[in-house]
C-alpha cells in the first residue's frame, strides 16, 4: 500500500474537514451571520454620525470577528472526540501536530476566511475609505489564523467538559488581545494617514510564531484531554 507523506496527510485532513462542513453547512453559516449581525447592529444603535462610525469601525469589526471565531471553536474537536475519530488520529503513525495543523487550517478556512472576505461590505456601513478597507482585509487575513491557532489550544483543553463552550472563550479571549490591538491599530494608522506596515508586521510575526508552537501545544493538550 502507498504510504502517505506529511503534506499528503495535511491535505487529507483539510479536505476531510471541508467536506464534512459542506455536508453540514448550517454550522459555517451561523458564524458568518453572527458576524454580519453584530457589526450591523452598531450603526443602528449608535446612529448615523459618520465621524463617530468611521472612528469606531476597526474596533467594532475586530471585536465582532473575535466573538464570531469563539462561536465555532468548541466544534473544532468535539465531533471527532464524540465519534472516536480523535482516538484514531492519536494512533496515526505521523505526528499528531500535523493532524492538528490540518484541523486548524480547515477551521480558519471555514471561520476566519469568510469573515475577512465579507468585512469590506460591512465596512461600507461605517463609511470606511478604500485604503482602510484594504488594510482591514489584510489585517484580518493575518490575524484570524492566530485566533484559530490559539483557539485550538483552548478547544483541546476544554474537550469533553460540560460547559466547555463558555470556558474556551474565557481562556482564549485574553490571549487574543494583542491581535485585536494590532489588527485594529493597522486600520486606524491608515485612516490617520500613517503607514500600517508596523502593525501588519506584528500580526505576521504573531502568525508565524503561533504556527510554530500552537499545533504542538494543542496536540499535547488533546493527549491530556483523552486520558
Amino acid at each position: 500500500m502507498k504510504k502517505m507523506s506529511l503534506f499528503g496527510l495535511l491535505g487529507l485532513v483539510v479536505r476531510r474537514d471541508l467536506l464534512l462542513a459542506m455536508r453540514r453547512r448550517a454550522d459555517v453559516l451561523t458564524t458568518l451571520i453572527f458576524f454580519v449581525m453584530v457589526v450591523s447592529l452598531f450603526p443602528l444603535g449608535v446612529g448615523p454620525e459618520m465621524d463617530m462610525l468611521r472612528k469606531m469601525a476597526p474596533g467594532v469589526v475586530w471585536v465582532a470577528a473575535l466573538l464570531a471565531s469563539m462561536l465555532s471553536l468548541p466544534r473544532m474537536f468535539s465531533a471527532d472526540y464524540a465519534d472516536g475519530t480523535l482516538e484514531q488520529m492519536m494512533l496515526a503513525p505521523q505526528s499528531l501536530s500535523v493532524l492538528v495543523l490540518g484541523k486548524i487550517v480547515a477551521h480558519w478556512m471555514l471561520s476566519g476566511l469568510p469573515l475577512a472576505l465579507i468585512a469590506p461590505v460591512l465596512g461600507l456601513q461605517f463609511d470606511m475609505s478604500a485604503p482602510a478597507l484594504g488594510t482591514l482585509v489584510l489585517a484580518l487575513l493575518l490575524g484570524t489564523p492566530v485566533l484559530s491557532m490559539i483557539g485550538a489550544i483552548g478547544a483541546a483543553l476544554t474537550l469533553g467538559l460540560r460547559g466547555g463552550g463558555v470556558l474556551v472563550s474565557l481562556l482564549v479571549l485574553p490571549l487574543c488581545i494583542p491581535v485585536l490591538i494590532f489588527g485594529a491599530g493597522a486600520v486606524e494608522a491608515v485612516t490617520s494617514g500613517m503607514s500600517a506596515a508596523s502593525n501588519l508586521s506584528f500580526l505576521g510575526a504573531f502568525m508565524l510564531f503561533a504556527l510554530v508552537f500552537t499545533p504542538f501545544v494543542a496536540s499535547q493538550a488533546l493527549r491530556i484531554s483523552m486520558e
Binding site: 502507498k2 502517505m4 499528503g8 464534512l20 472516536g84 475519530t85 494512533l91 496515526a92
Partner: protein
C-alpha cells in the same frame, strides 16, 4: 512481540489491576476477560498509549512503546467502542479517510472490495447515518481488511453484529494470525478462531 510486565492501572482512586504480566507472540490471540468495570477497556487503552500506567512497562519487540511512539502506532490497529466513522460521509469515504489517517492511501477499488467482503454491497455510496448499527459496525470493521498492522487491539468487536458477521470476523482474525499477526480482544460473546488456541487473561 508484545510484552507487558508488572502493569498497574487505576481510574481515579480506584486500582483496577496491578502486577499484570503477559507476552503475546506472532500468531497468538488473547481474550481479556472480566466483569463489567474490571478494567478490560482500560487495559486495552493503556496498551494503545491513551492512558499512562501507574507502574510497569509495555514493550514492543523489546523496546518501550512510549519511546517507539509513531513506529509502534504504525504496527497497531485499535478498534474501540466508538466506530470512528462520520455520519455525513458514505461508507467508501469513511474507509478511505480512516486509511488516510492511518498513513496509507487506499484506492477506490480496494475500498469497494473491502466493503463488499464485509457484506455492504450497494451500500458504498449511502451516507452512513442511514445504515443500521450493525452495518455501521461493519464499515468500521472493514478497516481490518485494508490494514497491514501486526497488532490488532479490538474492544468488543462483535457488538451489534449478526451471526454471519461474527463468522466473518473469526475468518478475518484467523487470516491475520496465519500471517503472523497478533490479536488482543475483549468480548462477552463466544469467538473461536479455527485451529488456534485462544489464550485467556482474567482481570478480577
Amino acid at each position: 512481540m508484545l510484552e507487558v510486565g508488572n502493569l498497574a492501572c487505576s481510574r481515579g482512586d480506584h486500582r483496577l489491576f496491578s502486577g499484570l504480566s503477559f507476552s503475546l507472540h506472532p500468531g497468538q490471540i488473547m481474550q481479556v476477560q472480566g466483569a463489567n468495570g474490571s478494567g478490560k477497556t482500560s487495559l486495552l487503552r493503556t496498551l494503545c498509549g491513551f492512558l499512562s500506567p501507574d507502574e510497569g512497562e509495555i514493550l514492543w519487540h523489546g523496546k518501550p512503546v512510549h519511546d517507539l511512539g509513531e513506529d509502534y502506532y504504525a504496527e497497531l490497529l485499535y478498534l474501540g467502542h466508538l466506530n470512528a466513522i462520520k455520519d455525513e460521509l458514505n461508507a467508501l469515504e469513511n474507509l478511505q479517510m480512516s486509511a488516510g489517517l492511518a498513513g496509507y492511501a487506499l484506492t477506490e477499488q480496494q475500498a469497494v472490495a473491502a466493503l463488499r467482503r464485509m457484506g455492504l454491497q450497494r451500500r458504498e455510496h449511502l451516507p452512513v447515518k442511514v445504515l443500521s448499527q450493525g452495518q455501521r459496525r461493519r464499515v468500521a470493521l472493514a478497516r481490518l481488511l485494508t490494514t497491514d498492522a501486526h497488532l490488532w487491539i479490538l474492544d468488543e468487536p462483535l457488538t451489534a453484529l449478526d451471526v454471519g458477521a461474527v463468522g466473518l470476523m473469526q475468518e478475518l482474525i484467523g487470516e491475520h494470525l496465519s500471517k503472523g499477526g497478533m490479536t488482543i480482544f475483549t468480548t462477552h460473546q463466544p469467538l473461536q478462531v479455527a485451529g488456534v488456541e485462544t489464550r485467556q487473561l482474567s482481570l478480577s
